[in-house]
Symmetry: C2
Subunit: 324 residues, 2 copies
């Protein structure tokens, strides 16, 4: 992984991915006690930054490979990003989902052009077995959600934009807080900032109880979470940092930050009220860290990458109800 | 009013107002039956396009006049836009509000740096009398919400951006739907499109029962509404089109469109689900017209200007509850 791969991904994404703006609010500056800038990737195609990685991976394939199609395991944001990227390239996509996935996510993924194949999660069926068979039968290419160099490069284009936009707004130093699951976005942004904005430092943010990356950065080894479900921040619940992403984060990132689920919901409500954007709890932990843990952050300015907005209306209403 | 005033306003707004993106969703395209682009002015500073007009007016003053301060009548989006524009120029601002205005709007306007002066609306006190006295005493300059050339020019910068962004996305012809109160934004956009995108046609959209502009465009004279309250679309409830704005709209706009309040709420819910933006009902009537009245629209593509997102959480929850 290197910066040239991210710049090449940016060329491929140009005119296809959205260049999201940097938002701000004097009300949030006051809560945070410093200047805050927000990168709202909820406004990206399919409602999360995952479209960048999906497009980067699909667009990097040779024609014959792409024509056979791509495959991914996901019931969430990665599935939608890969599905739309493939469809826009005229390539087939297969998304493997558990048979107890929410109907809305199944419908959305199909509407974006993907074929959905189920595995019996409650019954203990292995998704890998089904995926391996499909790959072999049809010659599909697997696109992993974070341990894939083209995916990391695509997510890293977010960092190139942050470097340029922050400079335009006279922010040259400070922490860049990133909602972190497996680390594809965090490691990609860290590489982009190293090259284009060395005064900005990438830092992962996770929910309490799922702080595998924060702990891994402390120990220097890949640590895992005990639980793998049971958080409203489902979008960023992964078992451990990736084999490709962890060495990059270990070399470049500042210490990880951890927020409570209630702080994430509070950030969702404040983003509604002050920024007029829709965030899912897992896409708001960066904002929550900036707002509610200012003592753990360095510098006069902080940038929060808000990674996604694919939230059910009942969870959103809960956030507004608790924190309006 | 002419295009040169809008271009001059764009120069003054550069680096201060946000250049909002054009958003889209394949799900909305499908409902609308054509390609849809959305200009989300809810992402503008203070949560609505009104900041553009406020900044344009304040920035056009000479230093001595500006130093004495500005004044506006409003309890809504115009108040916040003027207050922040004045504060960022280091100028005092006075906002005249009814004494029964919601506490949140009072607090927000003060937090943006304005002095709030109340008039006794239930008691029948005249806001004009209070405003005239303040202007005379302190030498304040009144900034009207739409019948002011600098305000129209500022709002018109939205149209310059639409012309450029639509061309980049290969949209050269079609209707541009605009949530319309007094017509400052609609007339400004119409002038900008006439100059920079003559294939695009501005069309005002209003809620049922408050369709003064649509009726005025038909009759050729300024028509008024019977009611002046009683709509969830409060941001765009004005008694009649303006003296400055109506001749421009009459010359340049296509027929007005009218949507029901329930259609506006449905559009709020779909903007939440598919665009990840927060709209107030009055800022969503353009989107509602594009989605639910496709037979009244011409062309393969339609652009909806979604004008504001300053909505209370209970109204937003109502929209999600009715239409999720």
């Amino acid at each position: 992984m290197n910066i040239d791969m991210i710049r090449a991904a940016a060329d491929r994404l140009k005119g296809h991915a959205r260049r999201t703006p940097l938002l701000s609010s004097p009300f949030l500056d006051e809560i945070a006690g410093r200047r805050m800038l927000i990168k709202p990737e909820c406004l990206q195609h399919t409602g999360s930054f995952k479209f960048r990685g999906g497009w980067s991976a699909v667009s990097a394939m040779d024609d014959a490979t792409r024509k056979r199609g791509v495959i991914a395991y996901s019931s969430g944001n990665h599935a939608q990003g890969v599905a739309l990227a493939a469809t826009k390239h005229g390539a087939p996509s297969v998304i493997i989902m558990p048979n107890d996935a929410p109907q809305l996510k199944i419908d959305n993924t199909r509407a974006l052009g993907a074929e959905v194949v189920f595995y019996d999660r409650p019954g203990g069926e292995s998704r890998e077995a089904i995926g391996d068979a499909l790959q072999a039968d049809r010659g599909l290419t697997m696109i992993k959600p974070y341990d894939n160099p083209y995916v990391i490069a695509g997510q890293g284009t977010t960092g190139l934009e942050i470097a340029e936009q922050a400079r335009e707004m006279d922010v040259e130093t400070g922490d860049v807080l990133i909602c972190c699951g497996g680390g594809g976005l965090t490691s990609g942004i860290a590489l982009a900032l190293e090259a284009d904005a060395p005064g900005l430092r990438a830092r992962p943010v996770e929910p309490e109880g799922f702080d595998d990356v924060a702990r891994s950065l402390i120990s220097g080894d890949i640590e895992t979470n005990n639980a793998q479900t049971g958080s409203l921040c489902d979008a960023i619940i992964t078992p451990a940092p990736g084999e490709l992403t962890f060495p990059i984060m270990s070399r470049l990132c500042g210490p990880g930050l951890v927020v409570s689920e209630d702080e994430a919901l509070h950030a969702v409500a404040l983003a509604f009220k002050r920024l007029k954007i829709v965030l899912e709890p897992g896409g708001a932990v960066s904002l929550a860290a900036a707002l509610f843990h200012p003592d753990k952050i360095e510098g006069d300015a902080v940038i929060a990458v808000c990674t996604g907005g694919n939230v059910d209306s009942d969870v959103f209403a809960l956030a507004l109800d608790k924190h309006s």
